[in-house]
């Protein structure tokens, strides 16, 4: 199965790299290189592609350069391959932004604002409503479906939560631990009975419930994280100040025109907000509670 996921991810990445240019022909002129933006696998990759493609077209048109997105198979791949794949930026989660900032020196540019005007997101720990889990103690010997070690919602927050409840050795406490690679896959693992405990951010869960009413009745939230920064676009230091400003203005202004609003609608967001390193204080706080130095944080799934 892992092979299938990897195969699909590689296929999609290739597809996105070779897909037709959504903007005008002037972007192909010599000397004007495209901008490659990496994406973490937030959800089903086909669904994610549908969301991001119009945004790529919109930005390309506004900045006069071709913008391409590439989805990586794992959260941590962004860190490992940012330089080798020649990425100019990436839409990252809270934890990957902090790791990329510390390790690669990327600069946070804008944070996604959801349709309700929030630039923050919370994570939920979920279980089946008809199951027997009501507290961390009930989780002993159960199966847990983490998302990715480089995810706040899907790993860092749950680990901190468990530590606060006296669970220090996760591998010993649970009978089985696995990583799903995306939030929706963690939810489906719980829904399908492949896992007893799963993790999801509230935006993703809301989307899933809106497309399937039965999900709400099947799941129970047993803990919720503090507010964490939403998905943030960070840019490489290689990107010029001028281009950074262009991108910033384009994204901050997106909700002020009808075409931009249409793109946002398909993207499932209300707009963007200027990001700063200070926004990520809650992430540093979680890492500190585990006594982990971010530069030494092991973000690779075992």
């Amino acid at each position: 199965m892992k092979r299938s996921i990897i195969f699909l991810s590689v296929l999609l990445s290739l597809f996105m790299l070779i897909c037709p240019d959504p903007c005008k022909s002037e972007d192909k002129s010599p000397g004007k290189e495209g901008i490659l933006i990496g994406l973490i696998p937030e959800e089903n990759i086909f669904k994610q592609m549908e969301r991001y493609m119009p945004l790529a077209g919109y930005i390309s048109e506004k900045i006069g350069r071709k913008v391409k997105f590439t989805i990586l198979s794992k959260y941590g791949d962004i860190i490992d391959r940012f330089n080798s794949r020649g990425m100019d930026g990436a839409f990252l989660g809270g934890l990957t932004t902090v790791i990329a900032y510390e390790k690669l020196g990327v600069i946070p540019l804008v944070t996604v604002v959801d349709t309700e005007g929030n630039a923050t997101v919370r994570g939920h720990i979920i279980v089946r409503r008809d199951g027997v889990i009501n507290s961390p103690d009930d989780m002993k010997g159960k199966i847990v479906a983490f998302v990715d070690r480089a995810s706040i919602t899907g790993y860092l927050f749950p680990v901190v939560y468990m530590k606060e409840h006296g669970i220090n050795n996760i591998r010993d406490f649970f009978s089985e631990v696995f990583f799903t690679g995306s939030c929706d896959a963690s939810v489906y693992a719980v829904l399908d009975g492949r896992a007893d405990v799963g993790f999801v951010n509230e935006t993703e869960l809301r989307d899933m419930i809106s497309s399937d009413v039965t999900i709400k009745k099947e799941l129970k939230i047993i803990a919720t994280s503090p507010d964490m920064p939403n998905v943030t676009l960070s840019l490489s230091k290689r990107i010029s100040e001028k281009m950074r400003k262009k991108l910033l203005d384009t994204l901050l202004d997106i909700s002020n025109n009808s075409k931009g609003r249409e793109v946002l609608k398909r993207f499932g967001a209300g707009g963007f907000r200027r990001a700063s390193v200070n926004d990520f204080t809650p992430v540093y706080r979680l890492l500190k509670s585990l006594n982990v130095n971010v530069k030494e944080y092991n973000y690779r799934n075992k």
Partner: protein
């Protein structure tokens, strides 16, 4: 002096409690399958595996196996026979066999397996122990809708197997929320199945965890194939005939049952959890049938199923 030491030592040895061997504490285990189904056999294989793992020499246990034809009379006869044979413990697979065993005895411990958790009354029975399961009924419908558009679904269950009635009600409730019509097909005997299914029109057929129903899986498959509709099933071993099988983890059910049996036959402490719920499932997706029936391929199933039949 030596004599006194010897006497003290002998007296001391006399009072050391000698633990009985596992096999000596039990003579006979009666066994009833609600039908001769591979799902029950897989669970029982796990029971034996874990009993041996816990140090019980199962070769020294006398198993009396009953695999009656799946109907109420046969289940009752089989259960009574096991009581007459002085079984120390009765293991019953499926709610039909378990109900018969509970009717036949109120003193011999009955360890049930492969029964839906929704059958709550079983947990109140004095001599009842065992492992129940849950299967995510909504997931069946979710994946099915990714494969094809559905308006009318049918559910086969048996009024003689009460947990299957619970499953039918759950299925109907979920479909109601999704505005999908559901036809319940209550099967009282194996011979009913063919004629009842032929009468109904539906977009897909859900097989509950009924021994009576699953005993005729091949017939059901042939009828549905003729109608060009997929089958959804719960029991491990039916995946060749079913588009989607979401089955309780037989190994975990077997392990839970084995632990109870081990405690009962060795007398090593009380059985702390008399009723163990198994929620872990396995998903089998039949890609071959999807293509054969001209259905859409749910990509999530291809990537997350435990087994994809090509």
């Amino acid at each position: 002096m030596k004599k006194i030491t010897f006497l003290i030592l002998a007296a001391f040895l006399l009072f050391i409690p000698i633990e009985k061997s596992d096999a000596s504490s039990v003579k006979t285990i009666g066994l009833i399958y609600s039908a001769d189904l591979s799902f029950y056999r897989i669970i029982h294989g796990a029971v034996i595996k874990y009993l041996n793992k816990y140090g019980v020499d199962t070769r020294k246990i006398k198993f009396i196996r009953q695999r009656p034809f799946p109907d109420v009379v046969s289940w009752n006869n089989a259960a009574r026979k096991l009581v007459v044979y002085d079984s120390d413990i009765i293991i019953a697979y499926g709610s039909g066999a378990a109900e018969a065993a509970f009717s036949a005895t109120s003193s011999i411990p009955v360890i049930y397996g492969a029964i839906d958790h929704g059958l709550s009354k079983i947990k109140k029975i004095k001599n009842g122990y065992g492992s129940s399961y849950t299967v995510p009924i909504a997931s069946f419908i979710r994946y099915l809708r990714e494969a094809k558009d559905v308006n009318n679904l049918a559910v086969v269950y048996s009024p003689f197997e009460p947990d299957t009635v619970v499953q039918y009600r759950q299925f109907r409730q979920i479909c109601k929320e999704l505005s999908i019509n559901v036809t319940g097909i209550p099967v009282k005997s194996v011979s009913d199945i063919e004629s009842m299914l032929k009468l109904e029109q539906f977009d897909a057929l859900f097989l509950t965890g009924s021994a009576i129903v699953n005993y005729r899986i091949k017939t059901i498959y042939e009828i549905c194939r003729g109608k060009k509709v997929p089958v959804l099933s719960i029991f491990d071993g039916t995946e060749e005939y079913s588009l989607l099988t979401i089955t309780p983890d037989a190994d975990r059910i077997g392990r839970a049952m084995a632990h109870i049996i081990y405690k009962l036959i060795t007398g090593r402490g009380p059985v702390k959890k008399r009723h163990v719920l198994v929620t872990k499932t396995k998903i089998y997706f039949n890609l071959r049938l999807t293509t054969e029936l001209g259905l859409r391929i749910p990509m999530r199933l291809v990537t997350s199923a435990d087994k994809v039949i090509k």
